[in-house]
């Protein structure tokens, strides 16, 4: 029996099924497990001793917050739901050689997400909520998902900017969450904390659960929509439960298998030192230390939600 390190309010680091069994729902995706080694020779992979981890690591993350729910009153008497949300993306540049972690870039944006055809930008106090028109009927429950694309776009912008300024050509960019449409960024890996789908067969899953800290599985290919190369890695500091401290990492399918394997080696050499400790982070060890710090900074930059809520209330009452 093991206690999950994650705070229960965040769920578990994997979802569905029994806690001991790992991710519940098996994926329907086609999985190619013969990329690095044939499937019958799968075994945990250690970090090669000769490997030099990158000196500079960029970590990208975004945060979002719903500031207020709104309702519009159309001239024809209809009403649309609206969501005023603040979101921010930022990049941490960790210079491990010089021991300096700094915010390489951060940007805050605010949007008013609604399907209403009549809605206009709302200026609340000193901030401006730009209208993002949502297609379709725009029910209130679907609006939060509409915030994700602009946030991802912001993350892409900010990470390419940060790299333009401080890249040494050998750095590594870690994106929080699946790569999705960020796959065109060079030397980039997606870092997935929560395991929802079981991609591997039962026989190969035992390789995952038998990983020791800082060991990874061989690279496998995934035939899903977003696709790409992927591998599992166990972070240090976990409780010892079979799926504790396991993260899945993916990289762009446009890379050759050799390039993917190189990235996998780099990730296994780099990421374990960023693992957080359980008493400091409710999602340890998967929530990486720089990401946690970045999220705190970004949340601070979003501004005080009560102030924004009040400003929105004042601004909309003036519009009436």
């Amino acid at each position: 029996m093991f206690v999950d390190a994650w705070d229960p309010s965040y769920g578990a680091s994997f979802e569905g099924g029994d806690a001991a069994d790992g991710p519940g729902s098996p994926s329907s995706a086609q999985v190619n497990t013969d990329v690095e080694v044939p499937a019958d020779q799968w075994a945990p992979v250690d970090v090669p001793a000769r490997l030099k981890p990158p000196d500079v690591v960029f970590l990208v993350d975004g945060v979002r917050r719903n500031d207020a729910g709104l309702w519009t009153a159309e001239e024809d008497g209809q009403s649309y739901a609206g969501l005023a949300a603040s979101y921010a993306a930022g990049v941490v540049r960790c210079d491990l050689h010089n021991g300096r972690a700094e915010l390489a870039g951060a940007r805050v944006a605010r949007g008013l997400f609604t399907a209403s055809p009549s809605a206009e930008d709302v200026t609340a106090g000193s901030v401006r909520y730009e209208v993002h028109r949502v297609s379709g009927t725009g029910e209130a429950s679907k609006l939060p998902a509409a915030v994700q694309p602009p946030l991802t776009a912001l993350e892409i912008d900010i990470s390419s900017e940060a790299r333009n300024h401080g890249s040494d050509g050998a750095d590594l960019l870690v994106v929080d969450g699946p790569l999705r449409n960020r796959r065109q960024l060079p030397r980039t890996i997606g870092y997935i904390k929560t395991q929802q789908k079981q991609y591997l067969s039962a026989a190969l899953t035992t390789v995952v659960t038998s990983l020791k800290p800082a060991q990874r599985t061989p690279v496998f290919g995934m035939g899903t929509v977003w696709g790409g190369w992927s591998w599992y890695l166990r972070l240090p500091g976990a409780s010892g439960a079979p799926w504790a401290g396991i993260v899945r990492i993916e990289c762009s399918p446009d890379l050759t298998p050799d390039q993917a394997i190189e990235l996998a080696e780099l990730s296994a050499a780099t990421l374990p030192r960023f693992a957080s400790s359980a008493y400091k982070d409710p999602r340890a060890p998967q929530n990486l230390v720089p990401i946690a710090g970045l999220e705190r900074r970004l949340r601070g930059m979003l501004g005080d939600s009560r102030v924004l809520h009040r400003a929105l209330t004042t601004a909309t009452s003036r519009l009436r």
């Binding site: 960790c94 491990l96 050689h97 021991g99 972690a101 400091k280 230390v289 970045l294 705190r296 900074r297």
Partner: protein
Amino acid sequence: MPTDVPSVNLSDPWCNMIGVSDEVELANDPVGRVLGTADATPLQFWTAVTPGSYLQLDDVVVTKRDLPDREPVTIAGVVTQVRARHEGAQFDSDVFAIAEGTLPALVQEAAEITTTRVDPELYVPPAPGAVVHRATGAARDAALHFDRMERRVPMGTGRDGVPVFLNADFLDGTRGAHVSISGISGVATKTSFATFLLYSVFRSGQLGADGTNARALIFNVKGEDLLFLDHPNTKLDDRTRAAYKLLDLPATPFPDVRVYAPPRANDSSGAPDVASRLTGVDSFYWTIEEFCEKRLLPYVFADADDERQQYTMVVHSVTAHLARHAVPAEGGISIDGRRLGSYGDMVDHIVDQLTDDETRSTWAGSAVNMGTVNAFARRLIGSKRDLSRLIRGDLAARRPHQIKTAESAQVTVVDLHNLPDRAQRFVVGVTLKTEFEDKEKAGTGRPLLFVVLDELNKYAPREGSSPIKEVLLDIAERGRSLGVILIGAQQTASEVERRIVTNSAIRVVGRLDPAEASRPEYGFLPPAMRQRALLARPGTMFVNQPDIPVPLCVEFPFPAWATRKSESGPPPAETMRSIVQGVDPFAVVGGRSGSSDDDIPF
């Protein structure tokens, strides 16, 4: 006035915007902004320091608050606390992750500003986000109220290396008087600061004729430190000379010093008892005749005025009897038909008379019982050893032997360090009483007399009563109008009579004992300064004066005069006249040495 301090139009102390013009602000990069995560109040606020700049304790800053419908308010203050912290760190151990380069964090410094001046006097808080500038030149003078001081006595430099001043109005009795200096013995440099302050009063010219004519009476209680005030200091280097120049003071010893020392014990010649200074020292003593005539007996007893002590009655009746019946007889006195030639003889005679049933009532009155007389006698006999060298019947009465600042040099040093405790009290009490009475008779507050007295807690303790304490209280309470200014020093202000401390307009603190620093007597120090006082270096003092709401941290220069034999240069020419005495043995008795024009005895 030092050249690097821009002059301020003194005729108009309320000059506009306390010297902060737009040019000043433009020339000065902003050093930070008022922060909004802590309350900003009109009297205290926090400033976030701009990355790349810094603020240290005691820096002077200025900010502005724009107001609708009226001119902007300028708020100036000094930094009383600075802190730096990692923003973005939650746990103490995060610092390792930050240093390792895995956790992003920001180092942010913030400074607490205590307001010293608001102009115009509209007590509004500075707005969070307002730009804060370092105050220099006229703005700094204004922030520290130097521009309103008509006469400013330099007392050293601030932490920023620019002179700081004392308002002479609070020193010479115009609006206040007396200085109280507290600090641990040895490291607090209390006496050095007191002498430097005197030097500055005498030499800065800020007090005009008052400064030149002023006299100082210094009691030297420890070592022979103060006996070399008129000797140049051989360790004086160019840096110290530059420091004096910055303060617009000459780096020279005191020009006019006279040193008095007690006569050597068991020495009939009355030669002064000093070890290191051999020239220009006079001995002081009182003749028995003076002792009786001036009613000095109560000063022999430390607690003679204490109501609880029965024998004080005897002290006063014996004093009165001596004054009434003693007849001068060649230095000594003659009483009841006997000539008494020494203090010991006199004590023996008094005790004999008191123990004799027949004569007791004429000396002590009728209602005195034997126990009280014995208490008196025991104490009187005990004083023989300590006082017999000071109260003499064998030395010439006409020889100058009294300490009189009016007839002495500008600085009169009275050396007490060789004397036992009781004798020290006697000398201090009698000298101060004489000086104060002379001032009362003269009825004028000029010339000023500065009295420097260390270990004030011994002479004016908080508890009890004594004739010496009464004299000191008199000086503290009435001295201001009579031109007698007490510069008192003590290790612990909490042990000194409260009325003396509260009457001091200027309070100075050097390094303090931790337990002492928390006492209410140091309430004028803000908490951060109280902590700093625990580690103040020698030469650093915190000076509180009435018209500046925050004590100023002052570094005063190394003395330009010698403070011990080893660093003393050649003695001044006047003192070379005689090996043992500053008084020319061939000069007319009673005449002032060196003033040759007055020599002719008409």
